[in-house]
Symmetry: C2
Subunit: 205 residues, 2 copies
DNA sequence: ACCTAATGAACGAACGATCGTTCATTATCA
DNA sequence: TGATAATGAACGATCGTTCGTTCATTAGGT
């Protein structure tokens, strides 16, 4: 007989430890590849206790995505700050660096998104991606200062989306496939090259 | 009592039917979310018979990835043809269209890649992404005609990779998250906009 | 041309392990 | 004391795999 873990060690800190453990396991092994017993063990908590905090295993997963989403869209995040402060498209490097920091910070979140896509047909997160373009439009409108000056016929929201997604994709690929130097360059070089291409294009001038 | 499936109906066609069924289920439910019984039922084959063709469930998965890989890198695929024929960077639209066709054709493959990332830590496919830059360099060298003429300081292989990956990412996202019109435009418009940006850049001229 | 032995695909019951979840019980705090 | 957090045994279901068996086909000897 083991003495139960301290009750009031830190509020209901066990809930957080369960979530933390679940996040790590889900992103490394997927949802169906992770058992509740593994989660309990990693969290240092009994199996049954999990069900005092979450009704089902899927509820744990959904809670994780919700918590991450809330933090991700917080105005204090690097990317949002750059959205507000940068004079797009003059400082694309800043967008690239911020994207890198976001992927670093929320890489686990993004991996859980892929888990959702693979094992739940994206049912928990697909709504995030509807109206994405409108959200970029809103960001640009809410930003102080004049509208971005771009080449004729280029929509600012679409352009910004293209830039940010390219950076996200680059950093995510490096993380997903565990390949250092996909482009055979350092990250800062890649950011520089991307930025140059986005600003001036590929054609000789 | 069921009559056994005809033996010599078509060689050992059941192996292919098992693989086909497994591909559909794995990409829709993930590896651990799919049971061998489901695969057997969908393939119209007995449970035990699966193990006459594959030693383990994971071997099925690995076989799928290998078969897809072989077909994907076949010279007859749309993207490879464009690699050989297009005067990069003048015909970026063709790269975009070919990327779209590749994602359409190999979308299942790409989803299985994500399954591998999520549930196997990318162990079956990570090798594909090491030396990616070198492979682009090789493609450009093996291509007939003069080297691409780009803006100063831009490496052709890295540039081509950036373009192709951007298109792939766009088409994959639309497929993964089942969102029609991520950019609020038709696909051809997106290809056009991307191409314009890649050629001339975002800044006004 | 016939008989026979060998082959391997096909079947579904069965195995042991593990799954998500429930439950009765105990410990801890307000 | 009452409420809640914690425990781990237990439950029924399902998992991947193995097993003994059937059977159509084929190869080889005569």
């Amino acid at each position: 007989m083991k003495t139960p873990a301290r009750r009031a060690e830190k509020g209901s800190g066990n809930r957080d430890r369960i979530l933390k453990a679940a996040a790590v396991l889900f992103r490394r092994q997927g949802f169906h590849g992770t058992s509740t017993r593994e989660i309990a063990e990693k969290a240092g908590v009994s199996l049954g206790n999990i069900y005092n905090h979450f009704p089902t295993k899927e509820a744990m997963f959904a809670t994780l995505l919700k918590d991450y989403e809330e933090e991700y869209f917080s105005p204090s995040q690097p990317l949002h700050k750059v959205f507000m402060s940068t004079d797009f498209p003059d400082n694309i490097e800043a967008l690239g660096a911020a994207s890198g920091r976001m992927v670093e910070k929320f890489g686990d979140y993004m991996l859980l998104m892929y888990v959702d896509v693979v094992e739940f047909d994206a049912k928990h997160i697909s709504r995030l991606f509807t109206g994405m373009r409108d959200r970029y439009t809103a960001v640009l409108r809410s930003r102080p200062g004049p509208a971005p000056r771009l080449a004729e016929g280029i929509d600012p929201a679409a352009a910004m989306m293209m830039v940010v997604w390219s950076f996200f994709n680059y950093f995510t690929m490096e993380r997903l496939f565990r390949v250092k130097g996909l482009y055979g360059m350092e990250e800062t070089e890649v950011i520089g090259m991307f930025s140059e291409v986005f600003r001036r294009g590929l054609l000789p001038r």
